[in-house]
Amino acid sequence: MSEPGYSRDEIMTVTAARQLRNGAVCFVGIGLPSAACNLARLTHAPDLVLIYESGTVGTRPVVLPLSIGDGELAETATCIVPLPEIFAHYLQRGRIDVGFLGAAQLDRFGNLNSTVIGDYAHPQVRLPGAGGAPEIATYAREVLVVMKQTPRSFVARLDFCTSCGYLEGRGVRRTFGPPGAGPQAVITDFGVLRPNPDTEELELASVYPGVTADAARAATGWPLNVTRTLAVVPPPEPRELEVLRDLHARTGAAHARPVHIKLPS
Protein backbone atom coordinates (compact mmCIF):
# COMPACT_ATOMS: atom_id res chain seq x y z
CA MET A 1 0.00 0.00 0.00
CA SER A 2 1.26 3.50 -0.74
CA GLU A 3 2.03 6.00 2.00
CA PRO A 4 -1.13 7.91 2.89
CA GLY A 5 0.46 11.38 2.71
CA TYR A 6 -0.19 12.21 6.34
CA SER A 7 1.13 10.93 9.67
CA ARG A 8 -0.80 9.16 12.44
CA ASP A 9 -0.32 12.24 14.60
CA GLU A 10 -1.87 14.37 11.88
CA ILE A 11 -4.96 12.26 11.33
CA MET A 12 -5.35 11.99 15.10
CA THR A 13 -5.26 15.78 15.47
CA VAL A 14 -7.60 16.31 12.51
CA THR A 15 -10.04 13.71 13.87
CA ALA A 16 -10.00 15.35 17.30
CA ALA A 17 -10.60 18.76 15.72
CA ARG A 18 -13.63 17.45 13.82
CA GLN A 19 -15.33 16.50 17.10
CA LEU A 20 -15.72 20.19 17.97
CA ARG A 21 -18.78 22.06 16.80
CA ASN A 22 -18.62 25.75 15.96
CA GLY A 23 -19.54 27.97 18.90
CA ALA A 24 -18.74 25.43 21.62
CA VAL A 25 -16.95 26.63 24.74
CA CYS A 26 -13.91 24.45 25.16
CA PHE A 27 -11.50 23.98 28.09
CA VAL A 28 -8.20 23.19 26.41
CA GLY A 29 -5.19 21.18 27.58
CA ILE A 30 -1.65 21.56 26.31
CA GLY A 31 -0.20 19.46 23.49
CA LEU A 32 -2.43 17.57 21.10
CA PRO A 33 -5.71 19.00 22.49
CA SER A 34 -4.41 22.51 21.96
CA ALA A 35 -3.38 21.69 18.38
CA ALA A 36 -6.77 20.10 17.69
CA CYS A 37 -8.76 23.01 19.16
CA ASN A 38 -6.81 25.60 17.20
CA LEU A 39 -7.05 23.57 14.02
CA ALA A 40 -10.84 23.47 14.49
CA ARG A 41 -10.92 27.22 15.10
CA LEU A 42 -8.87 27.87 11.96
CA THR A 43 -11.03 25.59 9.79
CA HIS A 44 -14.67 24.62 10.40
CA ALA A 45 -15.26 26.24 13.82
CA PRO A 46 -14.18 29.91 13.70
CA ASP A 47 -16.38 30.78 16.69
CA LEU A 48 -15.04 28.07 18.97
CA VAL A 49 -14.36 29.65 22.38
CA LEU A 50 -11.04 28.42 23.76
CA ILE A 51 -10.33 28.65 27.47
CA TYR A 52 -6.99 27.62 28.97
CA GLU A 53 -6.72 27.01 32.71
CA SER A 54 -4.34 29.96 33.05
CA GLY A 55 -7.51 32.07 32.93
CA THR A 56 -7.27 33.16 29.30
CA VAL A 57 -10.83 33.23 27.95
CA GLY A 58 -11.69 33.30 24.24
CA THR A 59 -8.06 33.18 23.19
CA ARG A 60 -7.05 33.00 19.51
CA PRO A 61 -3.33 32.19 19.46
CA VAL A 62 -1.45 32.57 16.19
CA VAL A 63 1.14 30.01 17.31
CA LEU A 64 0.53 27.08 19.64
CA PRO A 65 1.59 27.72 23.23
CA LEU A 66 4.20 25.40 24.77
CA SER A 67 2.77 25.99 28.23
CA ILE A 68 -0.75 26.57 29.41
CA GLY A 69 0.09 30.23 30.08
CA ASP A 70 2.29 31.53 27.27
CA GLY A 71 2.03 35.28 26.59
CA GLU A 72 0.49 34.48 23.20
CA LEU A 73 -2.65 33.26 24.98
CA ALA A 74 -2.95 36.42 27.05
CA GLU A 75 -2.42 38.79 24.13
CA THR A 76 -5.15 37.23 22.00
CA ALA A 77 -7.74 36.62 24.75
CA THR A 78 -11.11 38.30 25.21
CA CYS A 79 -10.22 38.60 28.88
CA ILE A 80 -7.92 37.14 31.49
CA VAL A 81 -9.48 36.05 34.77
CA PRO A 82 -7.76 34.92 37.98
CA LEU A 83 -7.25 31.17 38.24
CA PRO A 84 -9.71 30.64 41.12
CA GLU A 85 -12.40 32.18 38.90
CA ILE A 86 -11.71 30.06 35.84
CA PHE A 87 -12.29 26.95 37.92
CA ALA A 88 -15.12 28.18 40.15
CA HIS A 89 -17.11 30.59 37.97
CA TYR A 90 -16.59 29.01 34.57
CA LEU A 91 -15.91 25.28 34.99
CA GLN A 92 -17.62 24.42 38.29
CA ARG A 93 -20.60 26.66 37.50
CA GLY A 94 -21.27 24.67 34.33
CA ARG A 95 -20.20 27.09 31.61
CA ILE A 96 -17.92 24.68 29.72
CA ASP A 97 -19.26 22.55 26.87
CA VAL A 98 -16.22 20.44 26.08
CA GLY A 99 -13.21 19.47 28.18
CA PHE A 100 -10.21 17.94 26.48
CA LEU A 101 -8.04 15.53 28.47
CA GLY A 102 -5.06 13.27 28.07
CA ALA A 103 -3.48 10.94 30.64
CA ALA A 104 -0.82 8.30 31.15
CA GLN A 105 -3.39 5.52 31.60
CA LEU A 106 -7.03 5.03 30.62
CA ASP A 107 -9.28 2.07 31.44
CA ARG A 108 -12.25 0.62 29.58
CA PHE A 109 -14.66 3.03 31.27
CA GLY A 110 -12.64 6.11 30.43
CA ASN A 111 -11.28 6.65 33.94
CA LEU A 112 -7.89 8.38 33.81
CA ASN A 113 -4.59 8.19 35.67
CA SER A 114 -2.18 11.12 35.63
CA THR A 115 -0.75 10.64 39.14
CA VAL A 116 1.57 7.60 39.47
CA ILE A 117 2.65 4.39 37.79
CA GLY A 118 3.09 1.77 40.49
CA ASP A 119 2.25 2.16 44.14
CA TYR A 120 1.45 5.69 45.34
CA ALA A 121 3.87 5.61 48.29
CA HIS A 122 6.72 4.05 46.26
CA PRO A 123 5.98 4.98 42.66
CA GLN A 124 7.82 3.53 39.73
CA VAL A 125 7.04 6.75 37.88
CA ARG A 126 5.80 9.87 39.57
CA LEU A 127 3.58 11.60 36.98
CA PRO A 128 2.76 15.33 37.12
CA GLY A 129 -0.52 14.84 38.98
CA ALA A 130 -4.07 16.09 38.82
CA GLY A 131 -3.84 19.71 37.69
CA GLY A 132 -7.28 20.67 36.43
CA ALA A 133 -8.23 17.21 35.14
CA PRO A 134 -10.52 15.89 37.92
CA GLU A 135 -12.74 18.96 37.78
CA ILE A 136 -12.74 19.06 33.99
CA ALA A 137 -13.77 15.38 33.96
CA THR A 138 -16.53 16.21 36.45
CA TYR A 139 -17.99 19.48 35.20
CA ALA A 140 -17.46 19.80 31.44
CA ARG A 141 -20.73 18.88 29.67
CA GLU A 142 -18.76 16.40 27.65
CA VAL A 143 -15.19 15.19 27.69
CA LEU A 144 -12.94 14.26 24.80
CA VAL A 145 -9.83 12.23 25.52
CA VAL A 146 -6.84 12.24 23.20
CA MET A 147 -4.21 9.56 23.83
CA LYS A 148 -1.91 7.25 21.96
CA GLN A 149 -3.15 3.69 22.22
CA THR A 150 -0.68 1.14 23.62
CA PRO A 151 -1.13 -1.85 25.95
CA ARG A 152 0.75 0.15 28.61
CA SER A 153 -1.57 3.17 28.41
CA PHE A 154 -4.92 1.48 27.64
CA VAL A 155 -4.95 -0.79 30.67
CA ALA A 156 -7.29 -3.32 32.24
CA ARG A 157 -6.74 -1.72 35.64
CA LEU A 158 -5.48 1.78 36.44
CA ASP A 159 -2.59 2.09 38.89
CA PHE A 160 -4.38 5.17 40.25
CA CYS A 161 -7.69 6.81 39.35
CA THR A 162 -7.10 10.56 39.13
CA SER A 163 -10.15 11.62 37.10
CA CYS A 164 -13.39 9.77 36.70
CA GLY A 165 -14.89 8.57 33.46
CA TYR A 166 -17.82 6.19 33.85
CA LEU A 167 -16.32 4.54 36.99
CA GLU A 168 -17.56 0.92 36.74
CA GLY A 169 -20.03 1.70 33.95
CA ARG A 170 -23.79 1.01 33.64
CA GLY A 171 -24.80 4.36 35.08
CA VAL A 172 -22.61 4.32 38.22
CA ARG A 173 -21.19 7.74 37.37
CA ARG A 174 -24.64 9.32 37.36
CA THR A 175 -25.37 8.06 40.88
CA PHE A 176 -22.51 10.21 42.19
CA GLY A 177 -24.05 13.20 40.51
CA PRO A 178 -21.24 14.86 38.56
CA PRO A 179 -23.03 17.25 36.22
CA GLY A 180 -20.99 16.41 33.10
CA ALA A 181 -21.88 13.47 30.86
CA GLY A 182 -18.39 11.93 30.88
CA PRO A 183 -16.10 10.95 28.00
CA GLN A 184 -17.97 10.95 24.69
CA ALA A 185 -15.01 9.99 22.52
CA VAL A 186 -11.45 8.80 22.93
CA ILE A 187 -9.36 9.75 19.92
CA THR A 188 -6.27 7.56 19.52
CA ASP A 189 -3.65 6.95 16.86
CA PHE A 190 -5.76 4.00 15.61
CA GLY A 191 -9.22 5.55 15.49
CA VAL A 192 -12.02 6.60 17.82
CA LEU A 193 -13.49 4.76 20.82
CA ARG A 194 -16.96 5.63 22.08
CA PRO A 195 -18.91 4.44 25.13
CA ASN A 196 -21.48 1.71 24.63
CA PRO A 197 -24.89 3.29 25.40
CA ASP A 198 -25.80 0.52 27.89
CA THR A 199 -22.59 -0.65 29.52
CA GLU A 200 -20.64 2.61 29.05
CA GLU A 201 -17.62 0.49 28.16
CA LEU A 202 -15.45 2.07 25.47
CA GLU A 203 -15.70 0.37 22.08
CA LEU A 204 -13.85 0.86 18.86
CA ALA A 205 -16.27 2.92 16.77
CA SER A 206 -14.06 3.92 13.85
CA VAL A 207 -10.57 3.36 12.51
CA TYR A 208 -8.28 5.35 10.26
CA PRO A 209 -7.87 4.26 6.63
CA GLY A 210 -5.59 1.23 6.46
CA VAL A 211 -5.93 0.45 10.20
CA THR A 212 -7.52 -2.85 11.21
CA ALA A 213 -9.62 -3.57 14.26
CA ASP A 214 -7.13 -6.33 15.13
CA ALA A 215 -4.29 -3.82 15.24
CA ALA A 216 -6.32 -1.60 17.57
CA ARG A 217 -7.16 -4.62 19.76
CA ALA A 218 -3.49 -5.56 19.97
CA ALA A 219 -2.75 -2.06 21.25
CA THR A 220 -5.28 -2.35 24.06
CA GLY A 221 -4.75 -3.90 27.47
CA TRP A 222 -8.33 -5.22 27.78
CA PRO A 223 -10.39 -7.24 25.27
CA LEU A 224 -11.57 -4.31 23.16
CA ASN A 225 -15.08 -4.57 21.77
CA VAL A 226 -15.72 -3.36 18.26
CA THR A 227 -19.04 -1.83 17.22
CA ARG A 228 -20.98 -3.72 14.58
CA THR A 229 -20.97 -0.62 12.43
CA LEU A 230 -17.21 -0.01 12.57
CA ALA A 231 -16.62 3.02 10.38
CA VAL A 232 -13.55 4.31 8.58
CA VAL A 233 -12.56 7.88 9.42
CA PRO A 234 -12.39 10.02 6.26
CA PRO A 235 -8.74 10.95 5.63
CA PRO A 236 -7.59 14.51 6.33
CA GLU A 237 -8.52 16.97 3.62
CA PRO A 238 -5.72 18.96 1.96
CA ARG A 239 -6.99 22.14 3.61
CA GLU A 240 -6.91 20.58 7.09
CA LEU A 241 -3.37 19.33 6.59
CA GLU A 242 -2.22 22.64 5.20
CA VAL A 243 -3.59 24.63 8.15
CA LEU A 244 -2.19 22.14 10.68
CA ARG A 245 1.27 22.09 9.10
CA ASP A 246 1.38 25.89 8.88
CA LEU A 247 0.40 26.08 12.54
CA HIS A 248 3.18 23.69 13.56
CA ALA A 249 5.73 25.50 11.38
CA ARG A 250 4.85 28.89 12.89
CA THR A 251 4.98 27.35 16.36
CA GLY A 252 8.37 25.71 15.85
CA ALA A 253 9.87 28.98 14.62
CA ALA A 254 8.37 30.95 17.52
CA HIS A 255 9.57 28.52 20.18
CA ALA A 256 13.13 28.55 18.84
CA ARG A 257 13.37 32.37 18.86
CA PRO A 258 16.08 33.43 21.34
CA VAL A 259 15.07 35.62 24.28
CA HIS A 260 17.06 38.77 25.01
CA ILE A 261 16.68 40.76 28.18
CA LYS A 262 18.01 44.26 28.45
CA LEU A 263 19.51 44.94 31.85
CA PRO A 264 19.84 48.52 33.05
CA SER A 265 23.45 49.64 32.78
Partner: protein
Protein backbone atom coordinates in the same frame (compact mmCIF):
# COMPACT_ATOMS: atom_id res chain seq x y z
CA UNK B 1 7.71 48.88 52.80
CA UNK B 2 11.48 48.73 52.40
CA UNK B 3 13.28 48.26 49.07
CA UNK B 4 16.00 45.73 49.72
CA UNK B 5 18.53 43.90 47.63
CA UNK B 6 17.21 40.43 46.86
CA UNK B 7 20.07 38.93 48.86
CA UNK B 8 19.04 40.93 51.91
CA UNK B 9 15.33 40.23 51.45
CA UNK B 10 15.86 36.45 51.32
CA UNK B 11 18.36 36.53 54.21
CA UNK B 12 15.91 38.48 56.36
CA UNK B 13 12.58 36.83 55.59
CA UNK B 14 13.16 33.25 54.39
CA UNK B 15 14.31 31.03 57.26
CA UNK B 16 15.17 27.33 57.34
CA UNK B 17 12.03 25.24 57.83
CA UNK B 18 9.66 27.99 56.65
CA UNK B 19 6.63 27.38 54.43
CA UNK B 20 7.25 29.36 51.27
CA UNK B 21 4.99 29.93 48.26
CA UNK B 22 6.67 31.25 45.11
CA UNK B 23 3.57 31.83 42.97
CA UNK B 24 2.90 32.94 39.40
CA UNK B 25 1.05 30.60 37.03
CA UNK B 26 3.51 29.99 34.16
CA UNK B 27 3.87 33.78 33.98
CA UNK B 28 5.92 35.91 36.43
CA UNK B 29 7.51 32.95 38.21
CA UNK B 30 9.99 34.39 40.73
CA UNK B 31 13.05 32.50 39.48
CA UNK B 32 15.57 35.04 40.76
CA UNK B 33 14.19 34.68 44.29
CA UNK B 34 14.21 30.87 44.08
CA UNK B 35 17.81 30.86 42.92
CA UNK B 36 18.83 33.28 45.67
CA UNK B 37 17.27 30.86 48.19
CA UNK B 38 19.46 28.14 46.64
CA UNK B 39 22.56 30.39 46.90
CA UNK B 40 21.83 31.00 50.57
CA UNK B 41 21.41 27.23 51.07
CA UNK B 42 18.10 27.29 52.88
CA UNK B 43 17.08 23.85 54.15
CA UNK B 44 13.91 21.93 55.14
CA UNK B 45 11.58 24.37 53.40
CA UNK B 46 7.94 23.48 52.88
CA UNK B 47 7.53 24.58 49.28
CA UNK B 48 4.03 25.53 48.15
CA UNK B 49 3.13 26.23 44.55
CA UNK B 50 0.37 25.10 42.18
CA UNK B 51 2.82 24.20 39.42
CA UNK B 52 6.31 23.53 40.84
CA UNK B 53 7.83 24.25 37.41
CA UNK B 54 11.58 24.51 36.87
CA UNK B 55 12.01 26.84 39.84
CA UNK B 56 11.08 24.14 42.36
CA UNK B 57 12.81 21.44 40.30
CA UNK B 58 15.97 23.44 40.92
CA UNK B 59 15.28 24.07 44.62
CA UNK B 60 14.35 20.42 45.26
CA UNK B 61 17.38 19.16 43.36
CA UNK B 62 19.64 21.45 45.39
CA UNK B 63 18.29 20.11 48.67
CA UNK B 64 16.28 23.12 49.89
CA UNK B 65 12.97 21.31 50.42
CA UNK B 66 11.62 18.51 52.57
CA UNK B 67 7.93 19.04 51.81
CA UNK B 68 5.94 20.04 48.72
CA UNK B 69 2.33 21.15 48.42
CA UNK B 70 1.30 21.34 44.77
CA UNK B 71 -1.35 20.53 42.16
CA UNK B 72 0.56 19.80 38.92
CA UNK B 73 4.24 18.91 38.88
CA UNK B 74 5.41 18.70 35.28
CA UNK B 75 7.49 20.70 32.81
CA UNK B 76 4.62 22.35 30.89
CA UNK B 77 4.33 21.04 27.35
CA UNK B 78 7.61 19.12 27.74
CA UNK B 79 7.20 16.29 30.27
CA UNK B 80 8.58 15.41 33.69
CA UNK B 81 10.33 17.49 36.29
CA UNK B 82 13.24 15.07 36.69
CA UNK B 83 14.59 16.48 39.96
CA UNK B 84 11.12 16.35 41.56
CA UNK B 85 10.74 12.77 40.34
CA UNK B 86 14.17 11.75 41.61
CA UNK B 87 13.32 13.11 45.07
CA UNK B 88 9.96 11.30 45.17
CA UNK B 89 11.04 8.05 43.51
CA UNK B 90 14.54 7.67 44.96
CA UNK B 91 14.89 10.21 47.77
CA UNK B 92 17.69 12.18 46.05
CA UNK B 93 19.13 14.44 47.33
CA UNK B 94 16.66 13.91 50.15
CA UNK B 95 13.14 12.51 50.55
CA UNK B 96 10.27 14.83 49.73
CA UNK B 97 6.88 14.56 51.44
CA UNK B 98 4.03 15.42 49.10
CA UNK B 99 0.67 17.03 49.77
CA UNK B 100 -1.25 17.19 46.54
CA UNK B 101 -4.37 19.01 45.49
CA UNK B 102 -6.18 19.62 42.23
CA UNK B 103 -5.80 23.12 40.76
CA UNK B 104 -9.34 24.01 41.80
CA UNK B 105 -8.77 22.81 45.36
CA UNK B 106 -5.53 24.67 45.72
CA UNK B 107 -7.14 27.87 44.44
CA UNK B 108 -9.85 27.44 47.09
CA UNK B 109 -7.17 26.79 49.75
CA UNK B 110 -5.37 30.05 48.90
CA UNK B 111 -8.65 31.95 48.83
CA UNK B 112 -9.54 30.62 52.28
CA UNK B 113 -6.10 31.62 53.55
CA UNK B 114 -6.45 35.08 52.08
CA UNK B 115 -9.90 35.44 53.63
CA UNK B 116 -8.89 34.42 57.15
CA UNK B 117 -11.19 31.39 57.21
CA UNK B 118 -10.01 27.91 58.15
CA UNK B 119 -11.31 26.21 55.02
CA UNK B 120 -13.01 26.76 51.71
CA UNK B 121 -15.76 24.62 50.23
CA UNK B 122 -16.52 23.15 46.84
CA UNK B 123 -19.18 20.75 45.59
CA UNK B 124 -18.52 17.14 46.58
CA UNK B 125 -15.91 15.48 44.42
CA UNK B 126 -16.59 12.68 42.00
CA UNK B 127 -14.86 9.47 43.15
CA UNK B 128 -11.07 9.53 42.75
CA UNK B 129 -8.12 7.83 44.42
CA UNK B 130 -6.90 11.32 45.36
CA UNK B 131 -9.28 11.12 48.33
CA UNK B 132 -7.31 8.13 49.64
CA UNK B 133 -3.68 9.22 49.35
CA UNK B 134 -1.68 9.72 52.54
CA UNK B 135 -1.60 13.36 53.50
CA UNK B 136 -4.78 14.30 51.68
CA UNK B 137 -6.39 17.18 53.49
CA UNK B 138 -9.76 17.40 51.76
CA UNK B 139 -12.75 16.30 53.85
CA UNK B 140 -16.40 15.77 53.03
CA UNK B 141 -18.81 17.96 54.99
CA UNK B 142 -22.50 18.73 54.77
CA UNK B 143 -23.99 22.08 53.80
CA UNK B 144 -25.85 23.34 56.90
CA UNK B 145 -28.55 24.89 54.69
CA UNK B 146 -29.27 22.31 52.01
CA UNK B 147 -27.62 19.18 53.43
CA UNK B 148 -25.73 18.88 50.15
CA UNK B 149 -22.40 17.05 50.45
CA UNK B 150 -19.45 19.41 50.05
CA UNK B 151 -15.69 19.08 49.90
CA UNK B 152 -13.85 21.20 52.49
CA UNK B 153 -10.30 22.27 51.66
CA UNK B 154 -8.11 23.58 54.50
CA UNK B 155 -6.70 27.09 54.15
CA UNK B 156 -3.14 27.57 52.95
CA UNK B 157 -1.28 30.25 54.90
CA UNK B 158 2.39 30.31 53.85
CA UNK B 159 4.92 31.92 56.17
CA UNK B 160 6.18 33.81 53.14
CA UNK B 161 4.77 34.28 49.65
CA UNK B 162 7.11 35.56 46.96
CA UNK B 163 5.84 37.06 43.69
CA UNK B 164 7.47 38.65 40.68
CA UNK B 165 5.64 41.64 39.17
CA UNK B 166 6.18 44.17 36.42
CA UNK B 167 6.34 47.46 38.30
CA UNK B 168 6.52 49.17 41.64
CA UNK B 169 5.75 52.87 41.95
CA UNK B 170 7.51 55.50 44.00
CA UNK B 171 5.20 54.82 46.94
CA UNK B 172 5.74 51.05 46.86
CA UNK B 173 2.51 49.89 45.20
CA UNK B 174 3.01 46.82 42.99
CA UNK B 175 1.36 46.19 39.60
CA UNK B 176 0.79 42.78 37.99
CA UNK B 177 -0.39 42.61 34.36
CA UNK B 178 -1.31 39.61 32.21
CA UNK B 179 -1.94 36.08 33.43
CA UNK B 180 -2.31 36.36 37.21
CA UNK B 181 -2.99 32.77 38.29
CA UNK B 182 -3.61 32.66 42.04
CA UNK B 183 -0.93 35.28 42.76
CA UNK B 184 -3.22 37.70 44.57
CA UNK B 185 -4.74 34.98 46.76
CA UNK B 186 -1.32 33.49 47.60
CA UNK B 187 -0.01 36.98 48.41
CA UNK B 188 -2.82 37.86 50.78
CA UNK B 189 -2.86 34.41 52.40
CA UNK B 190 0.76 34.74 53.54
CA UNK B 191 2.10 36.12 56.79
CA UNK B 192 4.75 38.00 54.86
CA UNK B 193 4.90 39.02 51.22
CA UNK B 194 8.09 39.57 49.27
CA UNK B 195 7.95 40.97 45.76
CA UNK B 196 10.55 41.26 43.05
CA UNK B 197 9.81 43.65 40.17
CA UNK B 198 11.13 44.43 36.72
CA UNK B 199 11.41 48.15 37.39
CA UNK B 200 10.45 51.09 39.54
CA UNK B 201 8.37 53.84 37.96
CA UNK B 202 7.06 57.15 39.26
CA UNK B 203 3.37 56.21 38.81
CA UNK B 204 1.78 52.98 37.58
CA UNK B 205 -0.70 54.56 35.13
CA UNK B 206 -2.85 51.44 35.19
CA UNK B 207 -6.56 50.81 34.63
CA UNK B 208 -9.02 51.17 37.50
CA UNK B 209 -9.43 47.42 37.98
CA UNK B 210 -5.79 46.54 37.59
CA UNK B 211 -4.27 44.01 39.95
CA UNK B 212 -2.36 46.21 42.38
CA UNK B 213 -0.93 45.10 45.70
CA UNK B 214 -0.89 48.23 47.84
CA UNK B 215 2.45 49.03 49.44
CA UNK B 216 1.20 48.32 52.95
CA UNK B 217 0.47 44.63 52.22
CA UNK B 218 4.00 44.16 50.85
CA UNK B 219 6.63 43.25 53.45
CA UNK B 220 9.63 44.06 51.26
CA UNK B 221 10.41 44.53 47.58
CA UNK B 222 13.48 44.13 45.39
CA UNK B 223 14.13 45.44 41.91
CA UNK B 224 15.31 42.48 39.83
CA UNK B 225 15.13 43.02 36.04
CA UNK B 226 14.66 39.70 34.26
CA UNK B 227 13.69 38.14 37.60
CA UNK B 228 11.08 35.83 36.06
CA UNK B 229 13.39 34.38 33.40
CA UNK B 230 13.07 31.68 31.92
CA UNK B 231 9.35 32.25 32.54
CA UNK B 232 8.26 35.68 31.41
CA UNK B 233 7.14 39.16 32.34
CA UNK B 234 4.42 40.36 30.00
CA UNK B 235 5.48 43.58 28.30
CA UNK B 236 9.16 42.96 29.12
CA UNK B 237 10.32 39.61 27.69
CA UNK B 238 8.67 36.40 26.45
CA UNK B 239 8.85 32.91 27.95
CA UNK B 240 12.03 31.15 26.87
CA UNK B 241 10.35 28.02 25.54
CA UNK B 242 13.67 26.78 24.13
CA UNK B 243 15.10 26.82 27.67
CA UNK B 244 12.16 24.83 29.01
CA UNK B 245 12.78 22.25 26.27
CA UNK B 246 16.54 22.21 27.03
CA UNK B 247 15.91 21.78 30.77
CA UNK B 248 14.52 18.31 30.13
CA UNK B 249 18.03 17.11 29.19
CA UNK B 250 19.87 19.19 31.80
CA UNK B 251 17.75 17.95 34.70
CA UNK B 252 17.53 14.31 33.61
CA UNK B 253 20.97 13.47 34.96
CA UNK B 254 22.11 14.24 38.54
CA UNK B 255 25.65 15.19 37.61
CA UNK B 256 24.71 17.30 34.65
CA UNK B 257 22.10 19.09 36.78
CA UNK B 258 24.56 19.72 39.63
CA UNK B 259 27.19 21.03 37.22
CA UNK B 260 24.65 23.35 35.59
CA UNK B 261 23.52 24.72 38.95
CA UNK B 262 27.13 25.12 40.12
CA UNK B 263 28.02 27.13 37.04
CA UNK B 264 24.88 29.22 36.51
CA UNK B 265 23.47 29.73 40.02
CA UNK B 266 26.08 29.09 42.73
CA UNK B 267 28.90 30.36 40.55
CA UNK B 268 27.38 33.79 39.91
CA UNK B 269 26.65 36.51 42.47
CA UNK B 270 23.09 37.28 41.40
CA UNK B 271 20.38 36.89 38.75
CA UNK B 272 22.01 39.35 36.37
CA UNK B 273 25.07 37.08 36.53
CA UNK B 274 22.94 34.10 35.54
CA UNK B 275 21.36 35.99 32.63
CA UNK B 276 24.82 36.96 31.40
CA UNK B 277 26.21 33.45 31.84
CA UNK B 278 23.36 32.12 29.69
CA UNK B 279 23.89 34.80 27.05
CA UNK B 280 20.34 36.08 27.57
CA UNK B 281 21.58 39.50 28.68
CA UNK B 282 24.63 41.21 27.27
Amino acid sequence: MPLLSLREAIATYVKDGASVALEGFTHLIPFAAGQEIIRQQRRHLHLIRMTPDLVYDQMIGMGCASRLTFSWGGNPGVGSLHRLRDAVERGWPQPLTLAEFTHAEMAVAYQAGASGVSCGVMPRHAPSDLARVPGTAVREVQCPFTAAPLAAVPALTPDVTILHAQQIDARGNVLIRGIVGAAKEAALAARQLLVTVEEQVETLGSDMNALILPSWVVTAASIVPGGAYPSYAHGYYPRDNAFYLAWDEIARDRERFSAWMERHVLGVPDHAGLLRALGVAA
